[in-house]
Symmetry: C2
Subunit: 309 residues, 2 copies
Amino acid sequence: GAPMVGRLAIIGIGLIGSSIARAARQHGLASSIAIADASPAAMAEASRLGLGDSCGTDAAEAAADADLVILCVPVGAMGQVGAAIAGALKPGAIVSDVGSVKGSVVAQLGPHLPEGVHLVPAHPVAGTENSGPGAGFASLFHNRWCIITPPEGADPQAVETLRAFWAGMGANVETMSPERHDLVLAVTSHLPHLIAYNIVGTAADLEQVTRSEVIKFSAGGFRDFTRIAASDPTMWRDIFLNNKDAVLEMIGRFNEDLAALARAIRWGDGDALFELFTRTRAIRRGIIDSGQETAEADFGRRHDDDATA
Amino acid sequence: GAPMVGRLAIIGIGLIGSSIARAARQHGLASSIAIADASPAAMAEASRLGLGDSCGTDAAEAAADADLVILCVPVGAMGQVGAAIAGALKPGAIVSDVGSVKGSVVAQLGPHLPEGVHLVPAHPVAGTENSGPGAGFASLFHNRWCIITPPEGADPQAVETLRAFWAGMGANVETMSPERHDLVLAVTSHLPHLIAYNIVGTAADLEQVTRSEVIKFSAGGFRDFTRIAASDPTMWRDIFLNNKDAVLEMIGRFNEDLAALARAIRWGDGDALFELFTRTRAIRRGIIDSGQETAEADFGRRHDDDATA
Ligand SMILES: NC(=O)c1ccc[n+]([C@@H]2O[C@H](COP(=O)([O-])OP(=O)(O)OC[C@H]3O[C@@H](n4cnc5c(N)ncnc54)[C@H](OP(=O)(O)O)[C@@H]3O)[C@@H](O)[C@H]2O)c1
Ligand SMILES: NC(=O)c1ccc[n+]([C@@H]2O[C@H](COP(=O)([O-])OP(=O)(O)OC[C@H]3O[C@@H](n4cnc5c(N)ncnc54)[C@H](OP(=O)(O)O)[C@@H]3O)[C@@H](O)[C@H]2O)c1
């Protein structure tokens, strides 16, 4: 049959944008794909990889005449891109994004969009620690969740089109409010990243233990944190600045719990430690049972057959 | 040639003990292997798997006449096992262990061992989140570090035998004092585990976000912490109770840094966030360059050709 959408515009052709381009092409979801990215280097790589039918640095040009425009830029750049494309959007166009924070994106984009254009934000909960057009691959969203956060009063047909588009790329689609999204992701993504960045920073700054000792003996657990803490600095700066309240609330909870844990260690309360360490296993089992992870042990040297474009 | 050691006794046949049994057998490092474990279930599984020449629940019986005895029990059980085997040890025997804390193990074992028996503690910095005789495999120590922590005045020949034994299983051997070991591992292993247990506990206890939401959207980073927080509760309770001072010191550092990070988020100091998030990448690169990890992206669904016994 005919593709689900006509002209698809992707603004920002990094890990997520290029994965959408590949998946949309592979599954025949759009009749044409226009790409724009502010970075000439990214643009050149996207051209070389043949990710779209047209490639340029002008977002408005890519968005002109598009049926679906997906903003795949850092959360802090959404408002700027919204302002740049607003005048070029055709009536009935759907504007979406993939930002990791949703309340702020709605607030940034909403004021720019003309009457008759449908804003339907989304967030695919899938990614790797790598960036750029070369890092993407078509199966990134397979069996992963994509959360759609339609603002109040959103057009049901536009929401359905976006849902079908993400389902077409293999994602499981869930709908929730932007506020709920930001609270849930503060726990499942933003706090873990902050903690990982923090512990790697702490280790790097110690004067009693050298950096080469930290590197050498990292296999004891630290190594896994460094992978998360190697994620893109711009992306994560923007996430924390744009989900401040929920993140600070989660830091508060984390701190209370850590204080209790430190007290248990100080006073030799082995039962309290054992109880917590047993309870945390149930969550792991839930994640494995839900198919979001395998139970296989991790030895720090991986092979992955998903890693194909 | 003749095996490196004659009779090898392994007390505690869990993940680490059974990996040593398999590796020693595969590389012909001992002329015979005697196994003891307090758990009849573990003992039965070890027998069924054919991990040793003899299997029983009596540690003294396994240690009798042994040239090298390796204690592979939780850190909190070392003193008790030392007391149990002391009377059975022959003169010139080497007593070692694999405990994740070293100062406490030296303190627990030292007083029990008779004159003429050599205490040479060690810690292989390798493992998985799984436990028990079935979880071990012969290549677990391949290209991993094993830290030997000889007490002051240790017999050089005994130290050399233990070094050669670990090198024979494919490990890279490093020597340091028990105190330094406990400080370095507090950063590279103990603090990361504590933080992982803590964040998973925090997430499990939230009243605003349900446990099923946490599980469902765990792919955003949280998932990786749950793997670490699924490690054995007894083992980790014992580690924290026996490396209290270094762990509490590291928690203090971590807290100071997290407070600064929270302040940067609260006041919108994007430059401070960006600076930290950039700095942490250097450590990651160091780990990859050192061969302790691959640069491949992690998609949460792994395959590993190391996972063979
Ligand atoms: N990575 C993940 O794991 C993940 C997962 C889910 C959602 N997300 C979200 O997806 C979005 C993109 O992330 P990503 O990982 O794909 O990032 P990325 O690989 O760094 O790609 C972002 C691209 O957007 C370009 N860009 C930045 N500002 C722009 C602007 N004003 N106009 C046009 N292009 C601009 C960047 O160019 P420069 O390099 O010149 O800045 C870069 O090429 C972010 O909002 C992020 O929160 C990421
Ligand atoms: N797992 C890792 O990643 C790792 C890495 C490096 C070092 N280590 C260290 O290695 C040691 C063993 O860890 P593991 O992961 O191999 O543990 P494990 O799989 O749980 O095995 C420990 C075994 O020792 C037995 N045991 C407990 N107390 C005993 C006693 N008093 N006498 C005889 N046997 C006893 C246990 O029986 P029960 O089940 O009945 O208690 C269990 O079968 C610990 O000191 C740990 O700190 C572990």
